[in-house]
């Protein structure tokens, strides 16, 4: 596992992430010009409003394990989109797309969470 910072397709970078069903201004907290993909081990899912959060351990290029926190949509919206907190569990290896927080912390607004085989595990888009 390693931290990979990649440049996503222009549309995704510009629009995809910020089109989440956010109830408030995503721009207040996150920077849509800074997309990121994280590959790591899920340590915890916190399924509470107004945003569920994923906690993730990611091994960086130097082999050091970093702890990331990744905001999802509201549990209510994800439930109606067909997902549940049973869809992931601690220890799962996941790939997570999102954008970075403006404050420089290891905090991400999540667009989609996938298994390493490409299956979508969590998203605000309908399953």
């Amino acid at each position: 596992m390693k931290l990979r910072l990649i440049v996503l397709a222009a549309f995704l970078a510009a629009f995809g992430v910020t089109c989440l069903m956010a109830h408030h201004s995503l721009a207040a907290e996150f920077d849509s010009t800074k997309p990121i993909t994280l590959t790591g081990t899920l340590t915890k899912l916190d399924w509470r409003n107004p945003h569920a959060w994923i906690y993730l351990e990611v091994k960086n290029a130097q082999g050091v394990v970093e702890k990331w926190q990744c905001e999802l949509g509201s549990p209510n919206a994800m439930t109606r989109a067909g997902f549940s907190q049973e869809d992931v569990k601690a220890g799962d290896e996941i790939v997570l797309d999102g954008i970075l927080a403006r404050d420089g912390s290891k905090t991400v607004s999540t667009r989609v969470v996938k298994a390493k085989d490409g299956r979508t595990l969590l998203s605000q888009n309908a399953r």
């Binding site: 089109c19 721009a27 207040a28 107004p50």
Partner: protein
């Protein structure tokens, strides 16, 4: 600014697709399809995953006291940018233009991210459903968004409230089978949509609810705010009855890590009014 407008437009289309309310349909009010707009996402506590939701068909139901029955949980189009439902660019006054161009939630804070009340227009435009409850004398909006509510008379009595509020004071009346709700007395701290389009404390809302059939409401919102806009904004939308959904609890404060950890600022909204 142009970027934000383009982004907003694309977000609206995406949201419309996700909520099953086609962008065009969302602007036309009546004429909602008989099939389930957005059916296929299931959802709601206890609702099945997957597709297939169809709203009820048939004539609009009536209450036992002879009025159209609006009771139920309603799916509405998510409208993050009101421009897309009122025909394009907003007709700002100079004051309104300054309010819009100076809006910067990343720099100045975000009142909704801070869990302050959204205001009625923004709460009714959010992705989360709303439940309507109706008696002969009163009507209630039970917004899932942040578990807010609003109760107001519909039997002709005036509101007795005088202090300006986030959601304003509403009075309902009947125009034939259409429920007309007029709302004034806003504190001016809120915005019309997720994008942050402004209004002032001179805002007057007129909403018309018409139960066109068993599964739908034709909803018309008129935003009349002469301090901010040179003419009223008229937005038509279609609401769809979701018999498979329940209103869920939504605590904005419980797990708002962005606010607790300082990434979301609380705006100085009184001085930004």
């Amino acid at each position: 600014m142009k970027y934000s407008l383009i982004l907003a437009s694309l977000c609206l289309v995406t949201a419309a697709l996700l909520t099953g309310q086609g962008g065009a349909d969302a602007t036309k009010g009546k004429g909602a399809p008989k099939g389930a707009p957005g059916g296929g996402k299931g959802g709601g506590k206890g609702a099945p995953k997957g597709g297939g939701y169809q709203p009820p068909e048939g004539p609009a139901p009536m209450t036992t006291w002879g009025k159209p029955d609006f009771n139920g949980v309603w799916q509405r189009p998510y409208v993050p940018n009101i421009e897309q439902t009122v025909g394009g660019a907003l007709p700002y006054t100079e004051w309104g233009k300054q309010k819009w161009e100076s809006y910067n939630p990343a720099k100045d804070g975000d009142y909704t991210g801070a869990c302050l009340p959204f205001g009625h227009v923004r709460a009714l435009s959010s992705p989360d459903p709303v439940q309507f409850m109706q008696t002969p004398t009163h009507f209630a909006f039970l917004y899932e968004q942040n578990t807010w509510f609003k109760v107001f008379p519909i039997d002709g009595r005036p509101t007795k409230k005088k202090v300006p509020t986030w959601f304003g004071d509403s009075v309902g009346r009947w125009d034939g089978d259409t429920l007309v709700v007029e709302t004034t007395n806003f504190n001016g701290f809120t915005r019309l949509d997720t994008n942050g389009h402004p209004h002032s404390d001179q805002l007057k809302l007129t909403e018309r609810f018409t139960r066109t059939d068993a599964g739908h409401i034709a909803y018309q919102l008129t935003v009349d705010d002469p301090k901010t806009y040179t003419k009223p904004l008229v937005s038509n939308r279609t609401f769809t009855l979701r018999t498979d959904w329940e209103i869920l609890e939504y605590s904005c404060e419980e797990n708002n890590k962005g606010l607790v950890e300082g990434r979301i600022k609380v705006p100085d909204f009184e001085n930004q009014k």
